[in-house]
């Protein structure tokens, strides 16, 4: 079915979708238009709940029982899909549209072998015989760079890693040679190194198969990497649409501009730059503002914005925006009053010459694994944290980065006493803390507090906000009993939450608000050290900036020391003074943030940095990809644990045999910066910087 090149594969015109609810119809998507050509990848980016997935579902007619398209057209290869019966749709669409979802484990049938699931597609849709189908599946798995495809065909989905599963799903989607491939957050559940490899694959397939790709993501960096053109969605409508370069470098809608300014670019740090959060929150579709939907949050809003809904219009050729003043935004003529920029001078002073607060030496935390044999058998251990040494100075922020399963969380839990170390010396302000939290005295407990990752489970749903912040104040007797309420209100105010939040229950709060209450609870006892376990990774970017700013303010006001776990290396670079890079239970590089992000790198750090999706199409990034996945911590590789995946072993004589047998030495670049590697520093220094941006040289 060859189509002429000028007819777009998918052309969505003025699409509007609404869902029936108990309170009447809710318009989830309004007036969305875009077109995707053959071989083109069109990104759709926006925060959660802005209607990205609804657009995708309306293309494949998956809106569910209560959703319906109320206006507009969806042209697939020139023919309208709206208003047709299921049967007509099937013949029109055939097997020419495929979809890839976020969670590969839900797309694959856990009780069927990979080979059977793949070949089923061909046997049913194409009427191929089994042998022919299997050959073609193996060929397709090769195309998606699956190692050992013949073997993978015989495995069950759970025997593959997350990245491999997603490759299988992509291979399955491509088997029918679709004209349109819809990908809904396909890499969100994956680790950054795996994500980078899958994104490479998507870019490659786009050219190899000449498929049109509709790529949905909340991550600006990911969309920048795979897309040719991007549509920015906000509260159910598209506010800007243009090429990647135009959207990212010359945004012409205030919302896009706001998004760009609230994510830290790799290389930005807190002493030199500031994240501008977008105030307020996304309006609910039942309660939209009368004029421009972005007007209540817009820094540039003028009277006309609250009265008239702007049309999507072409600001310059190929660059569409839905703003009355798009030309002015594009020209950078509009400026907003940046009243919220905190004064950051205090931070610098605190960092210099501060005494150590926490020192961890050779800490090991092992989890015993029950032996599979009934009697006897050697007891095995998961070495979640193995021989880790780390120090934190007063008022400093230490970032801990690494792929999932590298022991970041276990290290933090060991410090706070939720896990007991198997071995090693842990000292906090001169006191031994190798004891579980139940054996610690109240003063020590008070000084070590934690901020959690998941906003939905960080607060007890049964108690009001005020009660939950008040509890640690009462318990640690921070203020006399009569003043507890006043202290809670002070903390709420510090978190930019008003007095009316005191009585609210967690279910009445948004994700960002919950996280702020969680921070208020953690700092209520005025702790010396706050451990933050991915405090912003579950939040939308505009909210993320606000929470990061609040943490900075807390630190500045109270001189709190912080440990900050995150997988987003741009955020860590922005937020932290010192960074520890962890791999498989060990720290492989430790040093000041600027030193970590510039050569010499540990080969693992280099690979991580090269994998970070950067929301800047002009940035140049080295292409280093790790093979395979993190080995099991039950049986970590001998010698250097990274040797099984290390792309730099060949820098050593005889291909790095030493890496397999001997534990590497710590090499000190400076007193503060150390690298755990066999490769001599002179060699490591020769590496090129991983990221280079146009304006500011390498991201150091």
């Amino acid at each position: 079915m060859q189509q002429p090149r000028d007819i777009p594969v998918l052309n969505v015109e003025n699409l509007a979708v609404s869902y029936e609810t108990r309170r009447g119809d809710v318009e989830a998507v309004r007036d969305v238009s875009f077109a995707i050509q053959r071989g083109e990848a069109h990104g759709i980016v926006g925060e959660s709940g802005c209607g990205k997935s609804t657009v995708a579902f309306s293309v494949v007619n998956f809106l569910g029982r209560n959703g319906k398209i109320v206006d507009g057209r969806i042209l697939f290869q020139g023919r309208d899909l709206v208003g047709r019966s299921q049967e007509e749709l099937r013949t029109l669409r055939g097997d020419r549209i495929a979809m890839v979802y976020q969670d590969p484990m839900q797309a694959l049938n856990p009780s069927m072998r990979v080979g059977d699931q793949l070949s089923e597609v061909l046997v049913i849709h194409r009427g191929m015989d089994q042998d022919e189908a299997e050959d073609m599946c193996i060929h397709m798995l090769e195309q998606v760079h699956m190692p050992d495809p013949a073997n993978v065909m015989r495995r069950f989905p759970h025997q593959l890693s997350g990245g491999q599963q997603q490759r299988v799903v992509i291979a399955m989607a491509l088997l029918n040679d679709p004209a349109l491939l819809i990908m809904d957050e396909p890499t969100t559940a994956l680790d950054v190194t795996v994500e980078a490899a899958v994104l490479d694959l998507i870019a490659e397939l786009q050219t190899k198969f000449d498929t049109a790709i509709m790529y949905i993501s909340h991550n600006l960096g990911v969309v920048a990497r795979v897309s040719d053109r991007v549509g920015v969605m906000y509260a159910g409508t598209m506010v800007e649409r243009a090429t990647v370069k135009d959207v990212y470098l010359r945004p012409s809608h205030p919302y896009t501009l706001g998004l760009m300014r609230c994510v830290p670019k790799l290389g930005m740090d807190k002493t030199s730059s500031y994240l501008y959060p977008i105030r307020g929150r996304v309006p609910s579709p039942t309660n939209l503002p009368p004029g421009c939907i972005y007007e209540p949050r817009c820094d540039f809003a003028r009277p006309v914005c609250s009265q008239k809904l702007p049309e999507m219009r072409e600001v310059e050729p190929g660059h569409w925006a839905r703003c009355h003043f798009a030309e002015d935004v594009l020209a950078g003529k509009l400026t907003s009053a940046d009243t919220d920029v905190p004064d950051l001078e205090g931070l610098e002073k605190l960092r210099a010459g501060a005494e150590p607060v926490l020192s961890v030496e050779h800490a090991k935390t092992y989890y015993p694994v029950p032996s599979k044999r009934l009697v006897g058998g050697q007891k095995q251990y998961v070495k979640a944290v193995d021989n880790v040494s780390i120090e934190m100075r007063k008022g400093a922020t230490v970032g801990i980065v690494g792929e999932s399963g590298c022991g970041k969380s276990t290290l933090v839990k060991t410090i706070i006493g939720l896990e007991t170390p198997t071995d090693g010396e842990l000292e906090f302000m001169g006191v031994d803390i190798s004891t579980p939290v139940s054996a610690r005295d109240l003063d020590l407990i008070k000084n070590l507090q934690m901020v959690f990752q998941n906003p939905d489970s960080t607060l007890n749903p049964s108690f009001s906000v005020g009660a939950q912040i008040g509890r640690p104040i009462r318990r640690f007797k921070t203020v006399p009993g009569a003043q507890v309420r006043a202290e809670v209100l002070r903390l709420l105010d510090m978190m930019r939450l008003g007095e009316n939040y005191y009585e609210r229950l967690p279910r009445q709060l948004s994700g960002g608000e919950k996280q702020r209450v969680g921070i208020a609870r953690a700092i209520a006892g005025r702790p010396e050290l706050v451990l933050c376990d991915e405090p912003v990774s579950a939040l939308d970017v505009s909210v993320q900036a606000a929470v990061l700013n609040l943490l900075l303010e807390v630190q500045q006001e109270m001189g709190t020391t912080m440990a900050f776990i995150a997988h987003d290396l741009s955020v860590v670079r922005f937020f932290c003074d010192t960074i520890a890079v962890m791999y498989l239970g060990q720290i492989v590089e430790f040093g000041p943030a600027e030193a970590i992000y510039a050569p010499p790198y540990h080969p693992y750090t280099e690979a991580l940095l090269s994998a970070v999706p950067i929301p800047d199409p002009a940035a140049e990034q080295q292409h280093i990809r790790l093979s395979g996945s993190v080995p099991s911590a039950l049986n970590p590789p001998r010698g250097c644990r990274f040797h099984t995946r290390c792309p730099r072993r060949n820098l050593l004589p005889d291909g790095g045999n030493i890496c397999e047998t001997e534990v590497p030495p710590w090499r000190f670049d400076t007193d503060d910066h150390r690298i755990f590697c066999h490769i001599p520093l002179e060699e490591l220094r020769k590496m090129a910087p991983v990221v280079t941006t146009e304006e500011g040289g390498h991201a150091g």
């Binding site: 309660n287 109240l442 959690f452 489970s457 960080t458 049964s462």
Partner: protein, 295 residues
């Protein structure tokens, strides 16, 4: 989101907020027709029990040797039993004992079971193994056999009925609470409480229990139904309240001997028991349906 906006305005002062929250919870019942039907029957029996001295036409213990095993008449609206006592009055007074004993015994078994379930679920390990294996061994017995053994050992009385039902019911509650605890204890707010150095019992009763209350309340409703059944069974077997106390189970047992001469004597108490049990089940089902719908 709209909920948050509309309630924020009204939420002033802690007392008003708490009352409103309770009302919000209660009003859920009225969304379910099934629950309302159940509630009406339950309220009917509660009113009957409270107003017993006012509405019962006769003394429940008074015997009329002239009217034995009579069918319904204007003097005895539901007829009389084998000793010439008014069945209606005995039913009305019988509702008092059953509506007192059933909730009390369920409250006891829920209290004991909740405590053991929290203990096993939160601490895990050896404590969990010991507690749960003991409870499992109790559950291994058929309930009737267990009732017989307990009552035979400690003798029939109101207090002992409560003891027996507590003993038999607690393991089931413990299992439910344990599974809820296993889930809730993985939440971050439990971590937060632990890093605050809270006492384990504070965590169990103030951090975990309030979030398990929904399923526990629904389970208790069903259990009150079962308890009414059990009390009826014990009464029927002669292991309930000692005669001549009016007791629905005991009434069936006595009337059974005269089922051919006075079949209605069996029917009335049987209807009373089943109406209450069915009503409680309807109520619990409706409650469960409505409460899960908004999760």
């Amino acid at each position: 989101m709209t909920v948050a906006e509309t309630t924020s305005g009204k939420a002033r002062g802690s007392r008003g907020g708490a009352l409103r929250r309770v009302w919000e919870g209660v009003s859920v019942i009225f969304h379910s027709g099934v629950a309302v039907v159940g509630l009406v029957v339950i309220v009917f029996w509660i009113l009957v029990a409270i107003l017993a001295p006012v509405i019962s036409p006769h003394d429940p213990l008074a015997q009329d040797s002239a009217a034995i095993n009579q069918p319904p008449s204007s003097q005895y609206p539901l007829g009389t039993d084998n000793l010439g006592r008014d069945i209606m009055s005995r039913l009305i007074y019988g509702s008092r004992t059953i509506l007192l004993l059933a909730p009390i015994s369920v409250a006891c078994s829920v209290a004991v079971g909740t405590f053991l379930g929290l203990l096993g679920g939160y601490f895990g390990g050896l404590i969990d193994e010991v507690v749960m294996r003991i409870l499992d061994s109790i559950m291994a017995f058929p309930t009737i056999l267990l009732y017989l053994i307990i009552i035979a050992a400690i003798g029939p009385s109101a207090v002992n009925v409560v003891v027996a039902i507590t003993f038999v019911g607690a393991p089931g509650v413990a299992r439910l609470v344990r599974s809820l605890t296993l889930d809730i204890r993985t939440r971050d707010y439990i971590r937060a409480a632990e890093t605050r150095g809270e006492n384990p019992f504070y965590i169990m009763f103030f951090e975990i229990l309030p979030n398990a209350r929904g399923p526990i309340i629904i389970d208790s409703m069903l259990r009150i139904g079962y308890a009414i059944f059990s009390i009826g069974t014990l009464g029927f077997l002669g292991l309930g309240l000692p005669p001549p106390t009016p007791d629905w189970g005991g009434m069936i047992s006595e009337a059974r001997k005269f089922i051919w001469t006075n079949p209605l004597g069996v029917l009335w108490p049987a209807l009373a028991i089943s109406s209450l049990v069915v009503a409680l089940n309807l109520f619990a089902d409706g409650l469960r349906e409505e409460s899960t719908r908004y999760m």
